[in-house]
Symmetry: C2
Subunit: 230 residues, 2 copies
């Protein structure tokens, strides 16, 4: 028997077939985790949406798992909740490790919590809290999208492909495999493929020039000492 619906929820608000509108189990788990953190911090939907610079209906959809947040939106929600994007993503992995588990962890190329990213995917490369957060981004977006801005320092390394890294007033930098960049907290940053040109590396199996070049970057974000949740 399903648990009763919260009596405070006006039934007119409830969509007719809510369970059918859940995007996928991962989105549902991330949404539930955001909602739990928000309630623990005694924030209303409106307050958290305002703090994250998102619309209230969008945040509601997100908490219900009816939509997937972009990585930028997830980053904003995490910052407003005093947590990290990685922690929110990690909530999407049911088999996360216990905090006291200090054994080495090995993550295969097909493992790790994944999040949406324009024309690609982000993958969190740890399963438990770490002194820094490594993530892998695979994409082929020609639109750089919104800027990420956060207080932590960050490091970006190009594994394959060619990336145009846009650092706002600090210029745009064309980075190829083996190139890297480090930028301090507060620096706006976003990136896109630089691969429609003929400089796409040779190991790509796509032969058509119509496709934007895919890239793979490793991003390591600083983790600041943070307050424990009450």
């Amino acid at each position: 028997m399903p648990p009763p619906a919260p009596s405070a929820a006006p039934s007119a608000d409830a969509p007719p077939a809510a369970s059918e509108r859940v995007v996928d189990p991962q989105a549902a788990r991330i949404g539930a985790h955001i909602r739990a953190l928000r309630r623990r911090r005694s924030l209303t939907l409106v307050q958290l949406a305002a703090a994250a610079g998102l619309s209230h209906p969008f945040l509601s959809q997100l908490e219900r798992g009816h939509t997937r947040a972009s990585m930028v939106s997830l980053d904003r929600v995490a910052a407003a909740l005093g947590t990290s994007q990685a922690e929110l993503l990690a909530a999407a992995v049911p088999a996360a490790r216990a905090p006291g588990d200090t054994r080495p962890e090995v993550l295969r190329a097909d493992e790790g919590a994944r999040g949406p990213f324009p024309q690609g995917e982000a993958r969190l490369l740890t399963r438990s809290p770490a002194p820094f957060e490594p993530m892998e981004f695979v994409g082929a977006n020609t639109d750089p999208g919104e800027y990420y801005v956060h207080v932590e320092d960050e490091f970006l390394y190009v594994v394959s492909g060619t990336v145009l890294l846009d650092l706002g007033e600090h210029g745009r930098h064309l980075l190829a495999a083996g190139d890297c960049a480090r930028y301090r907290g507060g620096t706006p940053h976003r990136w896109s493929t630089a691969g429609t040109t003929t400089d796409t590396p040779t190991d790509s199996t796509t032969d058509s020039a119509a496709e934007p070049g895919a890239y793979r970057v490793l991003v390591v974000k600083q983790v600041l000492a943070r307050q424990e949740a009450p």
Copy 2:
């Protein structure tokens, strides 16, 4: 006019043609930096060698730039000096950035301080102090060499090739491109190519036993808050 030699140095100790025995300018700069740090900490050669688990004559050679330290040895010297391997390597790059320079830094694939590594090379991926230390290791060593052991947490990501990561009592792990591992401070670790040996597990695609496979890994090491040098 060159500065006078320290009067405490016995002249019988000086090799007849010291300048000719310097391996390269980088080795000389790293050696000079180690010597300066050692003196600032009022340690004798014998004391530092003992703390680092190295022989006194080897350390003397190292300080004079007459030999290049392995990455493991450099790591030990750094730990005994209360600094980091990356900081010692960074001393080898004359154009290091000023500490107060907070602009983004872009490092090309052919840039960065380099250090020796068995059958390969290590490359430091920052030019200034960072909240974590990213390094790239390119090699083809079939001999895993000595274990690294340090108090900082570390993360390893395989960019290309196949690596056999040996974590001591925590087992050996065959990692392919896109795989990664994270291990806590105190965990012994070393790696070798997994391109040729027959003890490599089954998912290796290499068919020729002739050449050892080259790999490229990105290693990110935690930076602990450290005491300032007096």
